[in-house]
Amino acid sequence: MVIKLWDGFIRSFHWLLVLAIAGLWYTGGNIDYIDLHHRLGVFVLALILTRILWGIFGSESGRFSRFVRSPKAVVYYLKAPFASTWLTHNPIGGWAVILMLAALLAQAVSGLFTDDAIFFRGPLAHLVSQDWVRTLTSFHKQLFDWILVLLALHILANIVYAVRGKNLITPMITGNLKTEKNDLTPPKQVHPGFGFILFAINVTVLFWWLT
């Protein structure tokens, strides 16, 4: 059977995030593009915040309550990771999503407090002491390396699953999961339009506030 797994909002979120992170990687640390880096960072912040809201109010497959599982469930899952079919993130993948979202959120927020000692000063840097600005600036530089490690692991895991016969990538593009099982209840979908409306509101408010 074919199951609608990922709604249009989640898929747009995912691939916009990929593009934005590539842009942020390229523009980060390049003084000529610092203003673009700033805007892309605020854009990512809006994406992440909307994804968090979508994880509470959105389609079932993308809800935290559904894919955040206990360590026990993770251990149980890891005994046979390629045997079961999940209509959301699998137990280990769910934690990977939480980790990536948390890291990207920390990265986007810390960027707002940075100061390049030349001419860029984050829009919230004035709220904290100079010592904190220094700390958050180096944090922002160091965390990015860890984000790259997380993304490398994310890509590697998807390759491993694909090699072992579980293609997780196609559903993230088409939204549909093809499976031989016929007894699965498709996750309830919320119209992606609500996600896009939430995102539009977040983008507008954050750009008005932070750029």
């Binding site: 003084i31 000529d32 203003d35 390049d116 000692a117 030349i118 001419f119 000063r121 600036t137 180096s138 530089k141």
Partner: protein, 168 residues
């Protein structure tokens, strides 16, 4: 009265002489202190001098940045003034990079590697000063399209030196 006068003037003379001696000594002492401060044999003085002048450089650079980035209306006269001030300032902090001992002070962001790669540091300093000079010349054009690339050259020269020579 007449008998006491010589004795008095002797007292006065001794007093004056000792005052003069004291003044000389004090003056000499002050003189030595001044010499020490300007030659930056005192590490924390040198660090403070650099930090103060770099913060003035930054102040002026950021003012210009706000015009280059369109956050503030372009005022050609004000821009020229700031560019000139930056030019004068561009030499000042480097007079206080006098010795490797200075970075021992906890408050300095200047990395010890500066004194290990001194000629490279000097080259980067020269790049910065040359960029500022070109910025001043571009400012005379009163044309933002000519100013912007020179301004970015200067910004890049700051960054190239910060990378590796300034603590994160």
């Amino acid at each position: 009265m007449k008998n006491t006068q010589p004795a008095r003037s002797l007292t006065v003379r001794v007093l004056l002489a000792s005052m003069a001696g004291l003044t000389l000594l004090t003056g000499a002492a002050v003189g030595i202190n001044t010499a020490q401060a300007s030659a930056f044999t005192n590490a924390s003085d040198a660090v403070e001098y650099r930090q103060k002048t770099f913060s003035l450089i930054r102040e002026n650079f950021q003012y210009m940045a706000s015009m280059v980035r369109g956050e503030r209306d372009f005022d050609a006269e004000m821009f020229k003034t700031r560019a000139n001030t930056l030019y004068h300032l561009s030499h000042v902090p480097f007079e206080a990079f006098t010795g490797a001992g200075e970075n021992a002070t906890a408050n300095s962001d200047a990395l010890p590697v500066i004194w290990e790669n001194w000629s490279d540091f000097e080259a980067k300093r020269d790049t910065f000063q040359a960029a500022v000079k070109e910025l001043v010349a571009a400012a005379e054009s009163e044309n933002m399209r000519e100013i912007r690339p020179k301004f970015m050259d200067t910004a890049r020269s700051c960054q190239q030196c910060h990378q590796g020579y300034r603590a994160d």
